[in-house]
Assembly symmetry: D2
Homo-oligomer: 299 residues x 4
Amino acid sequence: MLKGIVPPLITPLKDRDTLDVGGLERLIERLIAGGVAGLFILGTTGEGPSLSYRLRRELIDHTCKMAAGRVPVLVGITDTSFTESVNLAKYAAAAGAAYVVLAPPYYFPAAPPEMLEYVQDLVAEMPLPLFLYNMPGLTKVSFEIDLVRRAVDMPGICGVKDSSCDMIYFHRLIEVAKQRPDWSILVGPEELTAEAVLLGGHGGINGGANLNPKLYVEMYHAAAAQDLKRTRELHAQVMQLAGSIYTVGRHKSAIIKGIKCGLSLLGVCEDHMAEPFHRFRDPERLQIREALQSLGLLD
Amino acid sequence: MLKGIVPPLITPLKDRDTLDVGGLERLIERLIAGGVAGLFILGTTGEGPSLSYRLRRELIDHTCKMAAGRVPVLVGITDTSFTESVNLAKYAAAAGAAYVVLAPPYYFPAAPPEMLEYVQDLVAEMPLPLFLYNMPGLTKVSFEIDLVRRAVDMPGICGVKDSSCDMIYFHRLIEVAKQRPDWSILVGPEELTAEAVLLGGHGGINGGANLNPKLYVEMYHAAAAQDLKRTRELHAQVMQLAGSIYTVGRHKSAIIKGIKCGLSLLGVCEDHMAEPFHRFRDPERLQIREALQSLGLLD
Amino acid sequence: MLKGIVPPLITPLKDRDTLDVGGLERLIERLIAGGVAGLFILGTTGEGPSLSYRLRRELIDHTCKMAAGRVPVLVGITDTSFTESVNLAKYAAAAGAAYVVLAPPYYFPAAPPEMLEYVQDLVAEMPLPLFLYNMPGLTKVSFEIDLVRRAVDMPGICGVKDSSCDMIYFHRLIEVAKQRPDWSILVGPEELTAEAVLLGGHGGINGGANLNPKLYVEMYHAAAAQDLKRTRELHAQVMQLAGSIYTVGRHKSAIIKGIKCGLSLLGVCEDHMAEPFHRFRDPERLQIREALQSLGLLD
Amino acid sequence: MLKGIVPPLITPLKDRDTLDVGGLERLIERLIAGGVAGLFILGTTGEGPSLSYRLRRELIDHTCKMAAGRVPVLVGITDTSFTESVNLAKYAAAAGAAYVVLAPPYYFPAAPPEMLEYVQDLVAEMPLPLFLYNMPGLTKVSFEIDLVRRAVDMPGICGVKDSSCDMIYFHRLIEVAKQRPDWSILVGPEELTAEAVLLGGHGGINGGANLNPKLYVEMYHAAAAQDLKRTRELHAQVMQLAGSIYTVGRHKSAIIKGIKCGLSLLGVCEDHMAEPFHRFRDPERLQIREALQSLGLLD
């Protein structure tokens, strides 16, 4: 059962369709050294849906090889095409990944009974345990709590990652998961990991851990140990990181751009973005540099 | 320059990932016999984003071969991955398609300046003239009018298909298109084709034309000829078809399910749906049968 | 039965809670001279929900007196409080108004069965014929077509004003209204009045008619006479007015601010706005001046 | 400075426009006996926007008299009319209320600079300290964090009630409030009060406290005392109450209907609802009865 901080890796790119393999290796070593509990690739932070299938497979191969069994690899298989999701899951299993992660198909919004049928059909084809990934801000629809209640009876499902920002929903997940002690309930937005773990959650899939894995891992351990004072101190630091790195520019893409730009400034990897985005230009890059300095991550 | 009714073909399926080739052939013959001005595959009605890439390529091949130059083939290349859109466009060009059609990437919502850069980058890679396809209900973001004004300067763009249901936007498109007499401005929802053409639009990409191509083609010609009386009569028939076929069941998928079920009852092709949807069961099928009878399309 | 252009009057204000009585009189005379079919006060363009009840009553009194039976007065009674809607309707009836106009209560979104019960209860208390006013952009919920179908059986209802911008909905209204030949189906956004009337609607409640009533009245008559060529010419002029006056500034309040500013420049009335809005400052005022000059409304 | 549980009182009604005065008295005594820190009337749970102004004033009078200085009274003055908000605030001050509470005007969505100007203008007219009430689900717009940062410089503002369900926003409020140690930051949804207080918030304005004030007060004290184990136990009970009482029926009005129905079953007051809502009928009432029995609130 997965517990702790599982960073959603950004995808280091040299160009629109070229993986920055050296950057990926440095990023993975940095994260494992920081104490993370797993590596999640091809999620939202990883710009999964923006990458070609060829590049997705290349990324799976490299990541599984580099992780080398030290921590489990989770692979995002979210797709609007059922068949492509299955193909990717099979590829991930063959490459040595441990889990697959699935958000709802994001072109057509499936109604609740349609979504249930979809999940049942898909789970039947999965070679690996599956996390449901709730991300209504981007997929338009949720895995509703009633669906999650039905998922309790599906052995192929092993937990939920919730990026809805809706902590009422998250607390309902915790309730449902009492029937499946093998399930992990993980939270997406890092600003919510403290309370998620204090009140019964199992960890966080937090983008900022790309930049500062130790901070997030330490906050997780403080919260899991019910050390409220220390959790609050570290939560304030996480809020400071998010408040300074994710607010550069006015677009929603600022989070991923900010993390990639920061990693570039830290010398970890290149900051090329997949279309429809482009990396920060100089003025924004300067703001990220100053933010990293304020956070004590850069001299 | 494209004018008239271009049906967005449903994709006849035998199974989740198996094309109903015979059904496709019957559908195409039926549409061409009905007088359509082109064939648009891999759009929303065609469940494009739900199909595997292998099947998309197979569909492109068969459609171009079956059309055999009698009418132009338009191929949807909408994708969240820039590289896959380019791949598909190149495949379509090689197979003999005449145009490609692109809605915004639909996972990450690009802000207006990001979208402009994306369109500029993509058009530069296109081997065929490109239609912008405005579909905010499913892609979350629009091709805003300011972007369309910029697109006037891009020779690779040849028009806009608007499925926003926002006729104010459509009238602004018509204004902008005055600077590009080679552009076609086509409307998506068939309930709006009459007014779109009466007030300066060039045609419709209307799902119901799968079922009754002659009705839509005749309405287009009446409106283009400014025959208001006849246009109103035919518009009332289109409203009746949409009102009876698209309102079975409560989910948004009812439109595509209804058209496919109807074509199955008419003996044209199978009505299998791609996930996350499934075809109508018997009670809904009975309602569609009765609707087709009321419409005089079935005895 | 009401047919033609019924302008939704802006409310001329001298201050937050002070009516510009002279301005109101000049506005009303201008509109009646322009050939309008009625005067609608306390609608969205009239900032109805932003005004104190005292001022709403004062406005009703003055308008009914100034109209003096030359054209009917329609009074907006939309409110989140049922009792206040009823109070206002009774006040309007006593003052000599001809109709009341009701959008859904706009704080709590009523579900369809709740809305039906609300409408039934309210109609039972109405001293005047009631127009349903569909305005989902501001009230969050619609009067759904199924509710309108039920309203056919309510003698107290006399029509629908639709400001949804959804012409599919509008065409369904026209269908339903065939059962009630006494109903008027009027459209809100002026960019849609041409097609609304060409395809069976009865007129428009168009904000721009405050500025140029003759243009809108002439367009209505051309469309009602099925003179398509002339309708298109006048529609292009309406598009030009809306495109230049309503697009100053980036906020949604630009439409009302633009109309009020324009009327102030034309010497009709003051342009004070009710909170939460404030009138345009000098740079925007200059843009409106130039727009009015381009439109030929100001030297 | 206000800390603890401040229930948003439902408004006991005998009829659409008739206060259930005896019920109000029993409710207030029950809440004060339960240890609440204040009484908030005319909020969302109180159906404030649905009540006539006459009834709102009557409710203010009775509540202030019945509270008799034992706990402070907070009065909702949210309105689409600036003048009516000011009138209500003055009335509340004269009647002996301690605070007023303001959500954004909810018909026209004010853009951020418009909202700032509105808040500045309104605060200047306030006779009592003002809470900002963030409720975007019903008002369409938020008091954005940038506005709250500006509000730090307005002495007339004394805190924020946040009902957005967005705990990231809530944590930003806590950060901002460090500059104003006199501010109270209170959370709306009761499912979030535990974490809100554990991580620095000052209490909750929780609808369920109408039914079981002791539970919410005890949870607040456990969280304020940083007793995590006890907080979790009580949070689970709150989740159970919310999960069983607020989920009867499918409409969003289920929360208020459920609380009122429960209070009626407990013999506290009548359960009449203001339009556009109506009280639960027998089948729903039976479900509420069973829920209260499971919760141990009814034999």
